[in-house]
């Protein structure tokens, strides 16, 4: 693995700074009900089950995991679109969980979202100008009415759209340009944190690079923090300072990009990274790919102990009994595994 890393945006040296967002013990269970007249709760889909995360100013946290691991639910919780079952989300010192009315509305200004699908996330009957101005209408005190059009034009040039196109409709733009409209809308209220849920996965490779570069430029210019949710591990590696790997509603590994990618500690992270196709035919067959058996278990009925143990080649009796916590490992990253890194699961056999 390459050692000389030159990240496009230098990692902000703010480890000591107060986090913008502090998430503690966040849980979201969706109840499963049965019965026609009298509904009884028969279980719960544990979409997010105990997530702790701190977002520092100016950093990008990448969140990766397979579909169904809870990464999109996490995004919805952080922006207040879903009410958590338990836990706390503190935004620059203010508690978001349980807040309502004007208080919650004021907090939402600081956290905005960019959606995956640039086709369905923009209203086809609204002009680009109206779409970008909508957050300003919802929060009328952000920008005085007389200056709103000026602000919209400013935002459009900020994301690389021509301000002359302010009266066009979304369908008159390509996928990449639409995603720029979504980004301009997300930036309208000067948020401190932008949550990007799969923002480039619907785009072609050549356009994807344009949008990734734009997000990095915007972060450098505006100093905002990003939570970047994606299933594409190469994209996440490129844009993130820190990376969280999720499996069945939990973060199983959390650390700096270099730690997680160069020296993965959790077996799931290892398997995930080894499954990424290597874009170099000369290396074909030379990587040691770990092909995981089967599919992830249902989040409605997760395994006891470690949730990954049913697909893990290192699993021992202990893994079924004791749920591993997210502990500091030798790489500097935190991992939720009893046998992190190269630790053999059966020391007596390995020796």
């Amino acid at each position: 693995m390459a050692s000389a890393e030159t990240p496009a945006a230098p990692a902000p040296d703010t480890a000591a700074a107060d986090p913008i967002m502090n998430v503690k013990g966040l849980v979201k269970h969706f109840p499963l009900r049965s019965g026609v007249v009298i509904k009884r709760q028969v279980g719960a889909v544990q979409a997010v089950d105990g997530v702790d995360l701190q977002v520092r100013p100016g950093e990008t946290i990448g969140v990766v995991g397979e579909s169904g691991c809870g990464k999109s639910t996490l995004a919805k919780l952080l922006i207040g679109l879903e009410t958590p079952t338990a836990g706390s989300i503190s935004l620059t010192g203010r508690e978001m969980v349980g807040a309502s009315g004007g208080k919650l509305k004021a907090m939402r200004r600081d956290v905005q979202m960019i959606f995956q699908d640039p086709y369905t996330s923009l209203n086809p009957r609204m002009t680009v100008g109206d779409i970008i101005a909508e957050p300003l209408e919802i929060h009328p005190d952000a920008v005085p009415k007389a200056q709103r059009t000026e602000r919209v034009r400013e935002l459009m040039s900020l994301v690389g759209l021509s301000p002359e196109h302010i009266d066009r409709y979304a369908h008159q733009f390509s996928g990449g340009q639409r995603q720029r409209i979504g980004i301009a809308r997300g930036l309208a209220l000067n948020p401190k944190l932008l949550i990007c849920d799969e923002p480039v996965s619907a785009l072609d490779v050549s356009v994807q690079a344009q949008v990734i570069n734009l997000l990095q430029d915007l972060q450098n210019r505006l100093g905002i923090s990003l939570i970047f949710i994606a299933h594409d591990l190469s994209v996440v590696r490129h844009i993130s300072h820190r990376v969280a790997v999720m499996y069945l509603g939990r973060i199983v590994e959390l650390g700096d990009k270099e730690q997680v990618y160069n020296n993965p500690q959790h077996p799931y992270t290892k398997a995930l990274l080894s499954a990424v196709p290597n874009p170099d035919p000369a290396m074909r067959g030379k990587g040691n790919q770990i092909v995981l058996e089967g599919d992830p278990p249902s989040p409605a009925n997760p395994p006891s102990g470690c949730r990954f143990r049913t697909r893990c080649w290192k699993a021992q009796a202990k893994c079924a009994e004791v749920d591993p916590g997210l502990e500091l490992t030798s790489s500097g990253a935190r991992a939720a595994c009893h046998f992190p890194g190269d630790t053999p699961s059966q020391p007596e056999v390995a020796a």
């Binding site: 693995m1 397979e66 690079a209 570069n213 490129h238 290597n278």
Partner: protein
């Protein structure tokens, strides 16, 4: 494949072919879509070759014409609005485009089969997977339903669906995405075809499942000795599986050659741009190269090279002269660029 009750039985048995002729030879294929806004030139004078046991990847972005090419080979283009305006598609020397539909049906599924991107919409939701796999045998082989079910279980075992005998009566929605794609592969290999076309077979899947499905496809190809045409926009998947690559842009093949050569040393500025704009798992996290601009509209293609407007190497000749034909470079591959030799030697910037 879709409507079970309306499919009339096809004549039994595979069509006879001359094994000495090349497996698949596409020459000068052009497809136009007649739309209300005008004619869209989706595929423009495309040549392709596929040999037995070979994997050919057709790489391109949306709108590049890769899927339309595949559909033309499979014979499932919607005509109209599509119209094949020129070219031949020869399977073992026989032109599929000029033969009567009755004969063509013998090739579809038995000689050439297809794995679709979205297994959930390619499978019929109201029939069990067993009925859908078994249909291939009742229609093409005249088997009884009982025997067909037995064959279905065999095939599901072969693509490693756990508990095949019990799951044969399940409906598509009861399977996970990866398992559904395995069912699609089972149907594609059911009649021992000579060519399998896989159109974005793993795009909807997670990387861990993608690895399983690609591995299975490769194994099935090795086992049956068939040729595989892999349609994809994923450079990683191509690098791991393809022997030969055709890169398509705006309906044209811009570069064609052995995978190792194309990746190590691209001969077309578009291929080079694609490779550079892709984030990687290793190496420095420098700023990504982004190909500026957008692909041209197929309704209104420029008279010159379709990539000229986005190309850092473009000169007047690229914009004015008709698009250059693919020329052979270093004896192994083709590039449709006026400056191909130079791109191979020095890149574009």
């Amino acid at each position: 494949m879709f409507s079970q009750k309306t499919t009339s039985p096809v004549e039994e048995g595979k069509p006879e072919v001359d094994e000495n002729q090349p497996l698949l030879q596409v020459r000068d294929l052009s497809v136009v879509f007649r739309t209300r806004e005008g004619s869209a030139q989706a595929v423009n004078k495309v040549d392709l070759d596929l040999a037995r046991g070979q994997t050919l990847a057709i790489l391109g972005e949306s709108g590049s014409g890769k899927s339309v090419t595949a559909q033309a080979i499979m014979g499932i283009l919607d005509m109209p609005p599509a119209e094949i305006t020129s070219g031949t598609i020869k399977f073992r020397g026989k032109d599929l485009l000029t033969m009567p539909e009755k004969e063509r049906r013998l090739y579809r599924g038995q000689r050439i089969s297809m794995v679709f991107q979205d297994a959930l919409s390619a499978l019929n939701p109201v029939y069990t997977v067993g009925e859908q796999i078994g249909e291939l045998f009742t229609v093409h082989r005249g088997m009884s339903r009982k025997d067909a079910k037995k064959k279905s279980i065999e095939l599901m075992d072969k693509v490693r669906i756990p508990g095949a005998a019990a799951r044969v009566t399940d409906y598509p929605h009861q399977f996970s995405g990866g398992m559904r794609q395995r069912i699609m592969i089972a149907m594609a290999i059911a009649l021992d075809p000579d060519i399998i076309i896989a159109d974005e077979p793993t795009t909807a899947l997670d990387v861990t499942v993608q690895a399983q499905v690609m591995e299975l496809l490769a194994e099935m190809r090795r086992e049956t000795g068939s040729g595989l045409i892999l349609i994809t926009h994923d450079l990683g998947v191509v690098a791991e599986t393809a022997d030969m690559i055709s890169v398509m842009y705006a309906g044209r093949t811009v570069e064609h050659g052995p995978a190792t050569k194309v990746f190590a040393n691209p001969a077309h500025p578009y291929t080079l741009g694609l490779l550079e704009s892709m984030p990687r798992l290793t190496g420095a996290g420098d700023r990504l190269y982004a190909i500026p601009g957008l692909p041209p509209s197929l309704l209104n293609l420029p008279s010159g090279c379709p990539f000229a407007a986005r190309c850092p190497r473009a000169e007047d000749i690229c914009r004015q002269d008709p698009p250059p034909p693919a020329v052979e470079i270093d004896g192994t591959r083709f590039s449709a660029c006026h400056f191909a030799e130079e791109v191979v030697a020095h890149g574009v910037r």
